[in-house]
Amino acid sequence: MNISGQEFISAMSAIGAGIAMIAGVGPGIGQGIAAGHGASAVGRNPGAKSAITSTMLLGQAVAETTGLYGFAVAIILMFVKPFG
């Protein structure tokens, strides 16, 4: 079987999109750590629950950014197809 250049580029773009989503590992670990520390903080000081929750969510959202860069790359590779 022979594969044309166009098809090769499509296949490689799909593989690249999959590899780009490995970026999701980092935010997962980071958000898990933040949530764990948030839970322990609430356990130590239940009165400050709302302040802790909002701080935790803000930090998690910022930590998520790098994962979303990977997602943007994957979306561009899959649907915008810059290489073909």
């Binding site: 022979n2 594969i3 044309s4 959202a61 998520e64 860069y69």
Partner: protein, 243 residues
């Protein structure tokens, strides 16, 4: 052409892509303009907010101090009070200057993000919308920074030591980029996942997407609207806070 037939990507025709609904040409311009799903969804969201706001205003004008407020007025008061406390918690005495813009932003974002529940394509899943919101934040930060600190706003770029200037400039321009990409990425990932579930798993799509809608549209949408407003406030407050 090769013998391996690569089928056109199935997902390309899925419901999560931006679709052109109507094409027109302006006389004298050699360019096709498209009215797409984002425009329609944006219009619906804006008109909805406008109608609710006008009704609230009319009811507010007719209210007497004696009679108890009705259901609608209670809900409006709850929302306004919640937004006021949200802004006040971070901005302190500058609240009155920013509460109008931030409330508008929050309401717009929350209704846009949950628009997926009502069968629209969320307007915030279009990078054009989120980038404009990010740029508004960018100009808000620097307008207020220059107004408050005058020349010091620019000398702060050389702050710890002069050769960090390029990194500081990149840091300033990364703010609208990361803000807009965060919102876009979160809402787009939810839209893509829901689109894939509805299109590719069609025979098995029974009842369980409701749970996913609750997560991807409601939870994620509310969190992201909150985070966008919070970060806008943090960045602006960083520039105008007293030393």
């Amino acid at each position: 052409m090769g013998s391996v037939s690569v089928a056109p990507m199935v997902a390309c025709d899925s419901s999560f892509m931006i679709k052109s609904l109507f094409t027109f040409k302006l006389p004298g311009m050699d360019y096709e303009f498209h009215l797409n799903t984002t425009h329609v969804a944006l219009l619906i969201v804006s008109v909805f907010i406008l109608i609710v706001a006008v009704i609230a205003r009319i009811k507010l004008n007719k209210v007497n101090s004696e009679d108890t407020p009705g259901m609608f007025m209670n809900i409006i008061e709850l929302i306004v009070e919640m937004l006021q406390t949200m802004v006040e918690g971070l901005m302190g005495k500058n609240t009155s200057k920013f509460v109008n813009y931030l409330s508008t932003l929050f309401l717009f974002l929350i209704i846009s993000n949950i628009a997926g529940l009502f069968g629209l394509r969320p307007p915030t899943a279009d990078y054009g919308v989120t980038l404009s919101l990010g740029l508004i934040t960018f100009f808000l930060i620097h307008f207020n920074g220059i107004k408050k600190n005058k020349g010091k706003h620019f000398t702060a770029l050389f702050q710890p030591i002069w050769f960090l200037f390029p990194i500081n400039v990149i840091g300033e321009f990364a703010v609208p980029l990361s803000l807009s990409l965060r919102l876009f990425g979160n809402i787009m990932s939810g839209t893509v996942l829901m689109g894939l579930i509805y299109d590719l798993l069609k025979p098995f799509t029974v009842a369980y997407p409701a749970v996913l809608h609750a997560y991807f549209d409601l939870f994620s949408g509310c969190i992201q609207a909150y985070v966008f407003c919070m970060l806008t406030m943090v960045y602006v407050n960083d520039k105008i806070a007293d030393e």
